[in-house]
Symmetry: none
Subunit: 191 residues, 4 copies
C-alpha cells in the first residue's frame, strides 16, 4: 500500500465511523482496524485525533468546493448562479450522506466553533462563492440589503435542515422538490 493510499484509507474509515457514530463512536483503534492499518500508524499521518478530524474536514470542504464549481459560470445572472449552487449543495448532501453527517458532527462541536472563529478574518472555502455572489447581488440591487452573514443564513440554513430531514427519512427530496426549495430560498434572499 502506497503512502497516499494509506492516508486515504484512514481518512475514509474515520469519515464513515464518525459520520455514523459521532466522535466518541469512533475510537482510534476502530478507525485503524477499518482502515486496515495498525493503530500506531495513524500517528505517522496525523499528529493526533484532533488533527485527523480537522484535516478530514478540510479534505471534505475542498472536495465539495470542486463539485459546487462544476458547471458554474460567473457570467450568468445572480439568480441563476444562486440556484446552481443551492441545487448542487442539496444534491451533494443527498448523494453523500456520510459527508453531510460528518460536516454536521464537525460544525456542532468545539471543532466547529474554533473553525468558524478562524474564518472570521480570512474567509475561505465554499462560503466564498456565496460571498462573491451576494456582493454582486447587492451591487446590482437584486438581493436584500442585509449583512453578508444574514444572507448566507437565509440561503444556506434551510438547506442544512432539509438535507438532515431527508437523510433521517422525514422527507424525500426529488429533483422537483429540490427546485422548489431553492426557489423558496431565493425568495427569502431576493429584493
Amino acid at each position: 500500500m502506497a503512502k497516499l493510499e494509506k492516508r486515504d484509507e484512514i481518512v475514509r474509515a474515520a469519515l464513515e465511523l464518525i459520520a455514523e457514530n459521532g466522535f466518541h463512536g469512533a475510537p482510534m483503534a476502530m478507525i485503524a482496524e477499518k482502515a486496515g492499518v495498525g493503530a500506531g500508524t495513524i500517528y505517522r499521518y496525523f499528529e493526533n485525533k484532533d488533527v485527523l478530524i480537522n484535516e478530514l474536514y478540510r479534505d471534505l470542504e475542498q472536495r465539495i468546493y470542486t463539485v459546487l464549481m462544476e458547471g458554474y459560470s460567473p457570467e450568468k445572472p445572480v439568480r441563476e448562479r444562486f440556484i446552481h449552487i443551492g441545487t448542487a449543495i442539496l444534491r451533494y448532501c443527498i448523494a453523500n450522506p456520510l459527508d453531510f453527517r460528518y460536516l454536521e458532527q464537525f460544525h456542532n462541536s468545539p471543532y466547529g466553533v474554533v473553525h468558524r472563529r478562524d474564518r472570521i478574518l480570512g474567509e475561505t472555502g465554499e462560503k466564498d462563492i456565496y460571498l462573491e455572489l451576494f456582493k454582486e447581488g447587492l451591487a446590482r440591487h437584486v438581493v436584500k440589503e442585509l449583512p453578508m452573514v444574514v444572507l448566507f443564513a437565509l440561503a444556506f440554513g434551510p438547506l442544512i435542515t432539509v438535507a438532515r430531514d431527508h437523510i433521517l427519512g422525514f422527507v424525500v427530496l426529488d429533483e422537483a422538490l429540490i427546485g422548489e426549495i431553492i426557489t423558496a430560498c431565493w425568495d427569502g434572499v431576493k429584493r
Copy 2:
C-alpha cells in the same frame, strides 16, 4: 440549600458546561463541582446522565414554549403570527445564548434524532405552533404548497444559523435586523 435549589443548581451547571463544551466536555464530576454538590448527589435527582440531558432539554423546551406564547393571538393573520413567533425565537436565543447552544448540542446528537423520531407521530411542543400555523396557511393559500418539514426548514433554518452567528459574534442582531430577517423568512415561505 433547599431541595429544589439543589436540583436547579445541577441543571444550571449542566446546561452551562454542555452548552460550552458539548456532552463529553461535561463529565458528571465537573457538573457536580460547578453545582457545588457531591458527585453522587446528581443521581438523587437524575437516574443517569442521559436522563439529566433529556430532562434538561424538556425543561428548556417548556420554558421557551411559554415565552413564545406570550402575546400570541391565534385570531391574528398567519403572517403576523409567523412574525410574532420568529421574532420571539430570535430574541430568546440572543437573550439566552447558553440555552440556544444547549439546544443545538441536543438536536445534533443521538438524543436529538430519537426526539425527532418520537415527534413524527405524536407531535407535541413548540414546533406545533408552526405546524398549526402552516396548516392554516396552506388552507388559506398564503404559504407555498410544500411538505410541512420543508416549510419548517425555510422558516426555522435561517433563524438557527443567524442566532449562532450572533452568539459567536459574527453579526450583531438588533431589533431592526431581527425584523428584517423574519420578514425575509416569511418571503421564503409565503406564496
Copy 3:
C-alpha cells in the same frame, strides 16, 4: 413500632436480601426500605454493615440451635441422637431456604473465615452438640477414631451439599430420602 420490632424488621429484611442476592445485592438503603425504616436508623441498631451481618448470623445460629434441640434426649443411644440432629438440620434447611442461603453466603466469605478462626478455641453453637455426641461415641467405641473435625465433616458435609441441591431444584428431598441420607452419613461415621 417498638424498638425490638424495628430491629427485627431490619434483620428480616437483611436476611432475605442477602440470602437471595448475596452481600453486594443487599445495599443498606435497600435493606432499610424493605424493613420500612430510614437508612440512618439501621445504624442505631448496628454499628455498621459488618456488625449487622455478624449479628444476623448469631441470631440465626441461636434459632437453629433451639430447633435442633427440640425433642433431643441426651439419654438415647448415640446413633439415634445422630439421626435426630441430622434429620432436624436437613428439615430446617428445606423449610427455611433463606436461612440456609444466608448461612452459605456467610460461611463462604471473609466473615465465615474470621468466625471459624474465632471458634478454634472456645467452641460454641450447634457444632457443640455434635462435639458432645462424638465425644461420647468415641468413648463408647461406636464412631471411628478420627479427629473431631473430621467426624464433623463426615456428618455435616453431605448435608450442606444436598440441602443446596434441594434448594436449587437439582433433587427433591422427601422424608424417605432424608432418612436414607442421614443413615448413609452414619455409615460414614460409625465404627
Copy 4:
C-alpha cells in the same frame, strides 16, 4: 515479559486475590498491580471481570481433571477407583490451597449456580468421573440406591469440609488420615 507470561501473571494474581479476599475483595486495579501490568492490560486478555473469573475457573477445572486422571485405571474395581479419586482430590486441595479457596468462592456465588445449572444437562468435567463411577457402582450393586446428586454429596461433601478445615489449620491431614477419610466416605456410599 512474553505474551503468555502476562496472561499467566494476571491469572495468578486474580486467583490469589480472589481466593484470599473473595470476588469483591479483588478489584481489577489490585489484580493489575499484583500482576505487574496496567489496569487496561487485563482487558486485552479478558473481555471483562466475569470472563476472567469464568476462564480462571475453567483453567483450574482442566488442571485438576488432569491430576485426578493420573494413574486412574477404569478396569480397577469401583471401590479402588473411588479411593483413587478421593485421595487425589484431597491431596490436590492440600497442595494447592489457593486453588481450593478459589473453587469455593466460585461455587458459592451466582457464577457457581449458573455453572451447575449448565452441568445438569450436558455434564462435562471432573464430576463425570464420579458420574461414570457411580453408574457402574449402581449397576454392580456396590453403592447405595440413591439419586446421583446424593451420592455426589456423600462422597464429595466431607472432602470439601475437611479440605477447608485443613487449610484453615483446624486439622492436619497426613497421608494416613487422608486414607481414613476416604475410606469413611466409601462407607457412606457403599451398599
